[in-house]
Subunit: 341 residues, 2 copies
Amino acid sequence: MTNDTRPTIADVARRAGVSKGLVSFALNGRAGVAPDTRERILAVAADMGFSPSLRARSLSVGRAFACGLVIGRSPDVIAADPFFPSFIAGVEDEFSVSGQVLVLAAATPGRHEEETYRGLVADRRVDGVILSDLRAGDPRVALVAELGIAAVTLGAPDVDSPFTSVSVDDGAGIRLAVDHLADLGHTDIAHVAGPSAMLHGRSRTAAFEAAAAERGIRSRVAPTDFSAADGARATDALLDADVPPTAIVYSNDNMAIAGLGRAQRRGLVVPRDLSITGFDDAEIGRHLFPALTSVATDARGWGAAAARALLAATTGGAAEALALPDPRLIVRASTGAPPTA
Amino acid sequence: MTNDTRPTIADVARRAGVSKGLVSFALNGRAGVAPDTRERILAVAADMGFSPSLRARSLSVGRAFACGLVIGRSPDVIAADPFFPSFIAGVEDEFSVSGQVLVLAAATPGRHEEETYRGLVADRRVDGVILSDLRAGDPRVALVAELGIAAVTLGAPDVDSPFTSVSVDDGAGIRLAVDHLADLGHTDIAHVAGPSAMLHGRSRTAAFEAAAAERGIRSRVAPTDFSAADGARATDALLDADVPPTAIVYSNDNMAIAGLGRAQRRGLVVPRDLSITGFDDAEIGRHLFPALTSVATDARGWGAAAARALLAATTGGAAEALALPDPRLIVRASTGAPPTA
DNA sequence: CTCCGTCTCTGAACCGGTTTAGAGTTTGAC
DNA sequence: GTCAAACTCTAAACCGGTTCAGAGACGGAG
C-alpha cells in the first residue's frame, strides 16, 4: 500500500497562507475572493495535487453524489436482456462527466425489493434513483416519494407520481412493425406480449391491438413473462393453432430469437412460412439467419436522458416529462410476404 | 419531500442519558459498556428508529463501504455479453448481505480507463475494485496497486500482482469441447478465438491448441475481438478455405451464435455439415435452432466468490488465489458427427 | 475628516459519526 | 483501612470539508 496521506484543504490553506474557508470558496468558484488570491490558491492546490475528499464533502453538504438503479428482475432475465447494459452505458456517459457515480442494487421483485430501496435510502447512499420496469399500480413510486428522495421513472407510471418521467413511445415502434407486416400483405398477426402487469408490456400490447384494428388485421395476443423460454412456449402455442398466424410481433428480441428457433425446429422457413419481428434491436439479431427485423430504441440515449433528468431533479429544478425520439423499425430478413399472398 | 431530520447519535445519547461515545460503543458491540446500559441504549436507538449516517461513518473511519467494477469494454460488447449481468448478480448476492454497495463505472479501454480508476480512487469512492478482462501485461494491476486500494483480479494476471485472484479454469472448458468433438469423430477443428491481448482469450486458445494436439487433430485459430460481427467474419473466412473445418469451437456464445447464422446463410446444415460449440452457456443458446452446445461457467458464483474475496481484502486479511469449480460442457443439438464420418 | 458601504478574508461552528485520554466509581488483595 | 486494578462512563479531539458571522482594510460620498 502506498502512503495514504493525501493533502487536505488545511494543507493547501497553510501553504497558501490563507484560511480553510477561503480555499473552499476559491475552489468552488464563489464570489468574494480577490482574483489574484484565487489564482494563487488554485495554483497551490494544483501544485499539491489536491482533490477534495468526497466523504467530507458528502457529510457537510448532505449529498451522496451518487444515484441508484435497482434492478428488480431475476438475474437470468437481466442477463438475457440487452437493454440494461446499453441503458447503463448511457447513464454512465452522463454521470462520468458530472462526477456522479452509479450504484447498482439487485433485488428480486416482491419481498426484497422494498428493503433494497429502504436500505439504499436509509444509508443516504444515493441522491436519487431510476425506477425502471414500471408495473401497474407500482408501489415503488409511493415508496420512493415517502422516503423523500429524488427519482425519475422510465416511462409514465399509471399512479400519481411527483417524479419526472423519461419515456420512449414503444407503442409507436410496435405500430411500425404491424404496419410493415400489413404492407407486406399479412392479415393474421400475433403478438407475443410481455406481462400485462408491466407497463411497457401493456402499452406494447395496446399499441399492437390498436394498429391491428386500424389495418383490419386479425390479431391475437399471447402474454409471457418476457423470458426467452416463455417466448418459445408462446410461439409453440400460436403455431399449434388450427390457423396459425402468418406473422408474429414479439415484445422483445429474446423472445423473437427463441420464437425463431422454435419455428425453425418445426420445419418452418422464416420468412417464407412465418414472419417475425423483435423489439430492442439487439446486436446479435443482425447475425442470425435470417437476420432479425426489429424495433430499435436508443437505450443508450435513453439512459443518458434519464441520468440528465435525475441530475436535474437532485439539484433542485424538476423538469417536466421528457420524451425521446420515436423508435425506428430496422427491416432485415425475418419478414416477408405471407405464404398465400 | 418528507421531513428529512433523522435521529442522530446525539439524539439517542441525550434520550438515553449517556454520552455520544457510549452510544457508539454500544451500537458497535464493543467492550466496556455495562450490560444493562447497553441494553437500554439499544432499546432507545431501536425505538427512535436510529440508523447511523453512512456518510459520517465513512468520513470518520475512512472507508467507503463500496466497491467498484470498471467495465472496460465498449457498451455494445457489454450489451451482447451475458457474462456481466450474471456476474454482477453474483456480486450483489454477496454485497447485499454485508451492507456493501457496488458502484459501476464504464470506461472505454485506452485513454479513459486510467482516468476512470484514478477518479474512483481519488474520490475514495470505493474501498476496492474488481479487475475483469485482464489483458496481457495489464497496466491496471500496477496502477491500482500504486493507488493503494484493494482489488481482486478475475483470473491470474501475467504480471506481478499483490492481489487475490479468483479464477475459473476456462481452458478446461475448451478442452471439454474439443474432446467432445473428437469423440464424435472430428479431425479438423477450428477455434474462433478472442484477442490474444486478453488473457482469457489467450488461455482458451492455448487450451484449444493443446487439446487438439493431444487428440491428433488438425487445428487452426482465427483471432477476433470477441464481438459477434468479428465472429461472423472469422466464420466466413474459415468456411471459405479449400478444406473447411468440420467443427468450430467459439470462444464465446455471441460469436457462436453469429457463426451459426453465417453457416446457415451459406446453406450449411448444423450439425450435419458443421458442428459448433459456444462458451458461456447463455440462456438464449438453448432456444436456437439447433440448440447450442456450450461451455457453462458459473458466472454468478464467480461474482459471489470475487465479492467475498474483495471483502476479505478490504477488511485486512488477504486470501490466497481462489479457484472455482471447473466449467461443464452442456451438449445440445449443434454438435454431431462430421460429414464424412 | 468622518461615516458608511464594499470587498476580502478569518475564525469558528457544523455535518454525524469514531476514538482516545482520563475521571470517577467499584472491587479485591493485602 | 489502604491502594491498585478493573470497570463504566464522559468530554473532547478528530475525520475534511462547507458555511456563516463578523473583523479589518479600503474607497467614495458628504
